[in-house]
């Protein structure tokens, strides 16, 4: 690992981040994630042929085709923009690296005829800012020498259906399971199922929600890296789908396409749990801006998902 600035890889610029944010917003709004589409197609096959669930899934898939063909948003709630820049510690990061994101978001929402859904202040000034800014940005430092920009358009319905619960450690694994199932029972109908359910367990009150949100970036159904977490994900998914809430909450076998779990260390007194609901139009893209292999700026559109 280089000891001084001279040895750090360069190549991450504010302009590259802004350009990636613009392109990602435009693409996410009108295009269903390929892994989400594949999971919905599999879910369609699992519903009874004449069922309401199958009819709903047919429409969700047809909707994705119209969005792509006509370049119109697959959901009218084109969301708030969350942009997370994940950078390796061996990379030199300019302090202004996120400064172009708001301008890129404003241009993308105007050019794409997307919906402006951001208010100036939640409590004190509920006036629409008119350009869907500010975006909600974060910088995340990780090992390595690459950089990836994660962009997510998050709708209000699915975020409103999310929650953080601070359990007592004695509640244990069963308590976590019930917290997830309670949230699904109470709120799934508002979050546009079939869902992708991000679950965070651990860290602190503020960080556990971030764990749940980051879990939504994982390709649908790709298991957690640890065997224990992956097994719990499978158990939670089975329990969620056993509720029978189904597509659009109108009944059926598939209430969720996946449960993605991220865990972390925590205080001896704590068992924080967060559930971040992802809807059936789950819109995100992860764009590699600097190669994690070589530390060189990635080719245009490289690594986009």
């Amino acid at each position: 690992m280089p000891a001084d600035e001279e040895g750090l890889a360069r190549g991450l610029t504010r302009e590259a981040v802004a350009a990636a944010a613009y392109a990602a917003v435009r693409a996410c709004a009108v295009t269903l994630r390929p892994d989400v589409r594949a999971a919905l197609e599999a879910a369609r096959a699992a519903e009874g042929p004449e069922s309401r669930g199958a009819a709903v899934l047919d429409r969700i898939l047809e909707n994705a085709a119209i969005g792509t063909a006509d370049a119109v948003p697959i959901c009218q709630d084109t969301g708030t923009v969350w942009a997370c820049l994940e950078v390796g510690r061996e990379l030199l990061v300019p302090g202004n690296v996120l400064d172009g994101v708001d301008d890129a978001v404003a241009r993308a929402y105007r050019d794409g005829a997307l919906r402006m859904s951001v208010l100036a202040d939640a409590l004190l000034d509920r006036v629409n800012t008119g350009d869907n800014t500010p975006a909600f940005t974060e910088l995340r430092l990780v090992p390595g020498r690459g950089a990836t920009l994660h962009v997510m358009l998050k709708g209000g319905g699915s975020d409103n259906a999310s929650r953080v619960v601070m359990l007592a450690p004695g509640a244990g694994r069963d308590g976590v399971r019930e917290a997830v199932l309670d949230c699904v029972r109470e709120k799934a109908a508002n979050a546009c199922p079939p869902l992708i359910i991000g679950v965070g367990v651990g860290a602190t009150f503020d960080r556990v929600a971030s764990l749940a949100k980051h879990a939504l970036l994982r390709p649908v159904g790709a298991p957690a890296s640890s065997n224990g977490a992956a097994a719990f994900e499978a158990e939670l998914l089975e329990a969620v789908n056993a509720l029978g809430i189904g597509p659009a909450a109108l009944g059926g076998a598939t209430t969720a396409l996946a449960v993605h779990l991220e865990t972390a260390p925590c205080h001896i007194a704590a068992l924080p749990v967060a559930v971040n609901m992802g809807c059936c139009a789950m819109r995100s893209q992860s764009v590699e801006l600097v190669s994690w292999e070589t530390g060189a700026p990635a080719a245009e559109k490289g690594g986009a998902r």
């Binding site: 063909a69 006509d70 119109v72 005829a113 402006m116």
Partner: protein, 226 residues
Amino acid sequence: MSGLTQGATGAQDAGMRYAAGAEHAIETPAAADATRDAGAEAGRRPARLTLPLSREDLAALRAGDEVLLSGPVYTMRDAGHERALAALDADGALPFGLDGATLFYAGPTPAAAGRPLGSVGPTTASRMDFATPQLMEAGIVATIGKGKRSAAVAEACRATGGVYLCAVGGIAALLATHVTESELVAWEDLGTEALRRLELADFPVFVAIDVTGTDLYRQVEAGVRP
């Protein structure tokens, strides 16, 4: 997209694809009446109804029915409900001739692809629960949204002979192909939350709460399988 012309062609294609892919969705009213008793059974044929809904239309609907709506609805969301209640308090009547109207809880995207709206779909209805009973008593006969409602809304449906209809969330590009006109009525300063009159054409919804107060979402929760 190379331009508006191509977009408009795409829109027509999309509508046709949808109609062709869901042949069970197109039906004559007479045949729909004959199958209405099928209730929550899967594959039942949807009735086609013309807005504004009559008391007879409303009384015939049962939770779980699928209905294709044609005619005018009015978009109203969170901020609009506060203004509608304020107008009701001030004047003792619904503003903008909304008596007898159907409200659609929706904030559309701007015009695109040769259509009056790019995308439009239901928002979470429970956020409007604080105002719905009062608005129904004042003359709103139906609301369109997504998700569960409060017991007070179910009671308002029963007491006023109105209904709550749900549209599928996450299919807004498809639903926009069933909207033929969009006209600003009021509250332009609210942006996407403005009051708009939309003209629907075979817009697909399900009856979520009927005039008896029966609730489709609660039926699903209780294991009454569709």
